[in-house]
Symmetry: C2
Subunit: 145 residues, 2 copies
DNA sequence: TTGTAAATGAAAATGATTATCATCTAGCAG
DNA sequence: CTGCTAGATGATAATCATTTTCATTTACAA
């Protein structure tokens, strides 16, 4: 278990949740690569090390981690969700390749002005936003013109 | 059928699609309110006037209208999608109340600079984006503090 | 009016997600 | 170290959204 996963383990316990081996492997699986993973993909990855884990546990753990703000959802504009480890304190957004699914994080967007203006105009109490760019990454552009 | 729906009908025919009564009522249902509607909600609304319409037809029509760029998806950060009529030429985003589900459109956000910078940095060919703000609308703030 | 490609509706298939419940276990008290 | 208990797990089934299939129907151009 790497450093990040260890910190998360501490956080779990602080909030009264138990650190089970299942949660550990799921955490590792998500923390491992920089890909975004669907619940099913996490399941496949995790089954290699922990062959009798249930898909249900994946969902429960994802739910828990999302609730704790430790991972974040990617929408990809399509049907189903996938998840990425969120490096704490880095507020970021996603740039997604519609061909190969690569997700690039970026932080260079300050929406606070827009948020303030919207809040003033509409009276909304704004507490979050979702920003994703869609396109084709460099390598997909060259392989299939 | 109102003006907007009529224009859409013309557009459909221009592209070789037929204008069926089912499509007409679905268009009306979406064009009617300013709410975002899930496929199931559209189905319920449409069944009043066209009792034997199938849910499948809703899905097919939604798919078609999305493909033509006439309606747009709202993600609401959660599970399932819903749809809004897109007033042509108004590129806009959504501000969503997490309590009552009200959707407010806004246009006052220019992301072209960010898009250009991202494109330069990453080599992506960017062709779209998704921006949604989440919060609580004024009335939900007063009703449940 | 007629022919035909496109559209429809019913039913079933698929896929993702959630609920249920009996069993098991992490972590704490003793 | 050991036994206790709230919380966690896995198997199964249920639910819900969406898609596929296919025989029948229909819009609309000729």
């Amino acid at each position: 278990m790497n450093f990040t996963a260890k910190k998360i383990a501490v956080l779990l316990r602080q909030r009264g949740y138990k650190l089970t081996p299942q949660r550990r492997v799921i955490l590792d699986a998500i923390a491992d690569g920089h890909d975004h993973l669907t619940p099913a993909a996490i399941y496949e990855k995790v089954k290699r090390e922990h062959s009798n884990i249930g898909l249900v546990t994946i969902y429960r753990t994802i739910g828990l981690l999302t609730e704790l703000g430790l991972i974040c959802e990617v929408h990809s504009g399509g049907n189903c969700r996938s998840y990425l480890l969120r490096r704490p304190s880095e507020h970021h957004h996603h740039l997604i390749c519609s061909d190969c699914g690569t997700v690039v994080d970026f932080t260079s967007c300050d929406l606070s002005e827009v948020e303030q203006k919207l809040s003033d105009d509409t009276g909304f109490d704004i507490n979050g936003h979702l920003l994703e760019f869609l396109g084709r990454c460099r390598s997909c552009q060259t392989t299939t013109p």
